[in-house]
């Protein structure tokens, strides 16, 4: 699937900075990744590494003092939208070049790319009914009357497994349990049949059983609608369950990316290896202390020069890792790593052409 010649979304060298009085936070500092139609891409990384800012940048939701300072976000809209928009010859649109408030970007948000936000509990307005908010989402992108939109809303709620959906349409979000609220959120996100769903840690706030149900539901919906998903989490267990392709982020950069099996079975980047060592497995004897990654994430204001991971890295090469930022290099036809162990600089070889993978 990942070899599909026409990716849905290609993000290249994305940089989003926050310009604060205290200094500039380089929250996303040169991120590359691609999403193919129908693929589930998991973005994983420790808290604060820029996962949310990355996807907010894709949806052009970053607000002041944040700004998208560089990069391209090439998105391939569905064929019916495509006729009205100024597409490049290859059928894509650079979202980074669009006005974030403009009509095209607004049509894409919710219509083509939908979001399940990180805090689904507070993402519904407490003084408007669920139905009101779902109907609004539908009517923003579909030319239907209120009555029809309401019926569609009921169908969507039923589809995500909410019992007595017609009543729930009239309920307020705080009248629903966490699991139901999350399902209602998914129903609203899917209301207009988006091609890409971005789920930002959709299961962190709910209990484990419900979490498993939500993951199963998302997977089922993804197959039914042949929709692509970007799934953000810091839980590698969840990634293993749901993702086809994994993007490992650290301090605003992609450390390693590849198919889920390769990342789990043949992790190449020292950071990925450390992450994998820190999760328990059935082979770990009980009561053993799990290894943790040494050191802690640097404060966003003093990002280390060179490879952002070098102060915590066991394979740190002085004079190289703290000077040059490694670019992603392919280590297999489908897997890329950003680490000097693989760039060839260590052995005086030329850096391989970075445009060959993707």
């Amino acid at each position: 699937m990942s070899n599909d010649p026409a990716p849905l979304l290609v993000v290249r060298d994305l940089k989003t900075y926050f310009f604060l009085d205290e200094g500039t936070v380089r929250a996303v500092d040169g991120v590359d990744f691609a999403v193919h139609p129908g693929q589930v891409v998991g973005i994983v990384g420790e808290s604060g590494c820029g996962k949310s800012v990355t996807v907010k940048s894709v949806m052009r939701l970053v607000q002041r003092p944040g700004r998208l300072v560089a990069g391209t976000i090439r998105f391939r809209p569905s064929s019916q939208s495509a006729q009205r928009w100024p597409l490049a010859p290859d059928g894509t649109l650079d979202l980074a070049a669009l006005d974030p408030q403009g009509p095209i970007m607004r049509a894409i948000r919710g219509g083509e790319i939908a979001l399940i936000p990180q805090e689904p509990m507070a993402a519904f307005s407490p003084v408007h009914t669920i139905g009101n908010q779902i109907v609004e989402a539908i009517r923003l992108h579909q030319d239907v009357d209120r009555q029809t939109a309401w019926e569609w809303g009921v169908e969507r709620l039923a589809e995500v497994g909410i019992p007595s959906p017609a009543q729930r349409m009239r309920a307020y979000s705080w009248e629903l349990s966490g699991g139901l609220r999350q399902r209602a959120m998914i129903a609203m996100a899917l209301a207009c049949g988006p091609r890409l769903l971005i789920a930002d840690e959709p299961t962190t706030a709910i209990d484990v059983t419900t979490q498993a149900q939500i993951l199963t539901l998302l997977r089922a919906l993804q197959e039914q609608h042949n929709m692509a998903i970007i799934f953000i989490t810091h839980d590698l267990g969840v990634i293993a369950q749901i993702a086809d392709h994994v993007v490992v982020m650290y301090l605003g950069r992609v450390m390693e990316a590849g198919p889920v099996e390769e990342i789990f079975l043949r992790p190449q980047h020292p950071y990925t290896r450390a992450l994998l060592r820190s999760i328990p497995s059935i082979h770990t004897p009980s009561r053993t202390l799990l290894p943790t990654i040494q050191g802690s994430i640097p404060h966003p204001f003093n990002r280390p020069a060179g490879c952002p991971f070098h102060p915590r890295c066991g394979d740190f090469v002085p004079g190289l890792c703290d000077r040059n930022t490694p670019e992603p290099v392919p280590v297999s036809p489908t897997q890329t790593v950003s680490c000097h162990l693989y760039t060839g600089e260590l052995h005086g070889e030329p850096i391989p052409d970075r445009s060959s993978p993707a």
């Binding site: 408030q101 607004r106 948000r109 219509g111 939908a114 519904f124 407490p126 003084v127 989402a137």
Partner: protein
């Protein structure tokens, strides 16, 4: 519980409390009005002797008996309350006229001025608050912040005096009162209405300045709290345009607590401002209350204060109902 049933029960509960609260307030009102030493007659005699005339002791005692001022306080209170329960607001010793007549004469203009001020305040403050919050730290925001500080910091009677002076000096008009000389005591006519409209805007602006500044600041702060909530970002992620989403979601939530304070304006509509109205010589109830208090015209002062209290209680009830109606979470908590 059904929200309608809940609301009906909620209102009924609160209405049942009304008489009890009024009873308590009536005692307070009476005690406070009686608190200065002496009574209406002492004040009256002092005034007489200041103008050179006097009254003999027998006359004074007769008047005191006539007005019931010779009775102990609790008897005076019971008589007063008894009359009020029969719908009689009593008699003004100072004006020598029924209180109900005095109050109703001034009521229309007081309420009109209050409504004008209220409308002016809200129509200006809410948009200013929204603009300042959505354009935080812009020139506009700083401009309104300065304006608001001035509005809050300047005593209203100062504004009144300065504007009166400016209007007199540069426009050559006297802006005290609500009417030109020829219409002050004229019966209502089209000309009198027009004359009123010509005069009422200035007191409305003066009275509204302070409130506008405060309300705009509260609106800005409330809205800033709401603007970064996840539901706002979600609305944006659905593809809603910025203005539509700001007005539908965060503004609605920021307004709720403000709208619910509308009830508190009710007693103000009745009394109007005391000091500014006195400075501007407005024929409203505020200055009449001030005069009744200085002259110890206790029944008039008592009637005004009691009506004020009743309206304050009613206003709070209206506020609570509004809040429960606007915010489903409040309805939920109650049931």
């Amino acid at each position: 519980m059904d929200p309608g049933v809940f609301m009906a029960r909620y209102i009924a509960q609160r209405l049942l409390l009304l008489p009890l609260l009024l009873f308590i307030f009536s005692i307070f009102a009476f005690v406070i009005i009686q608190a200065p030493p002496g009574d209406f007659l002492t004040a009256y005699i002092a005034e007489l002797s200041a103008s050179g005339s006097s009254m003999d002791q027998a006359q004074i005692e007769a008047l005191r008996r006539l007005y019931g001022l010779d009775q102990p306080l609790h008897i005076q209170y019971l008589r007063w309350v008894g009359r009020i329960l029969r719908g009689d607001l009593g008699f003004s010793l100072d004006w020598q006229r029924p209180n109900a007549e005095l109050i109703s004469e001034r009521l229309l203009l007081t309420v009109l001025l209050g409504l004008f001020t209220f409308t002016f305040t809200w129509a200006l403050a809410i948009p200013i608050g929204i603009l300042s919050a959505t354009r935080q730290y812009s020139f506009l925001d700083y401009f309104f912040t300065v304006f608001n500080y001035i509005g809050v910091a300047t005593p209203t009677f100062m504004t009144a005096l300065v504007l009166m002076w400016l209007a007199f000096k540069y426009l050559g008009i006297s802006v005290t009162g609500l009417f030109s000389a020829e219409y002050v005591d004229a019966p209502w006519s089209w000309g009198r209405v027009v004359d009123l409209l010509k005069h009422i805007w200035l007191p409305a602006v003066i009275l509204g300045m302070d409130g506008t500044a405060r309300l705009a600041r509260v609106m800005r702060a409330n809205l800033l709290d709401e603007l970064h909530k996840p539901y706002v970002e979600m609305a944006r992620a659905k593809g809603l345009s910025e203005w539509r989403l700001v007005l539908k979601y965060p503004v609605r939530l920021a307004l709720n607590p403000l709208v619910s304070t509308i009830g508190w304006y009710l007693p103000l509509l009745f009394s109007g401002s005391v000091i500014v109205a006195t400075v501007l010589n407005l024929p409203t109830i505020g200055p009449m209350l001030l005069r009744a208090l200085t002259n110890q015209d206790m029944f008039l002062a008592g009637a005004i204060v009691l009506i004020y209290c009743a309206l304050a209680i009613l206003g709070t009830l209206i506020s609570d109902i509004l809040l429960a109606w606007l915010d489903p979470r409040i309805r939920m908590e109650g049931s």
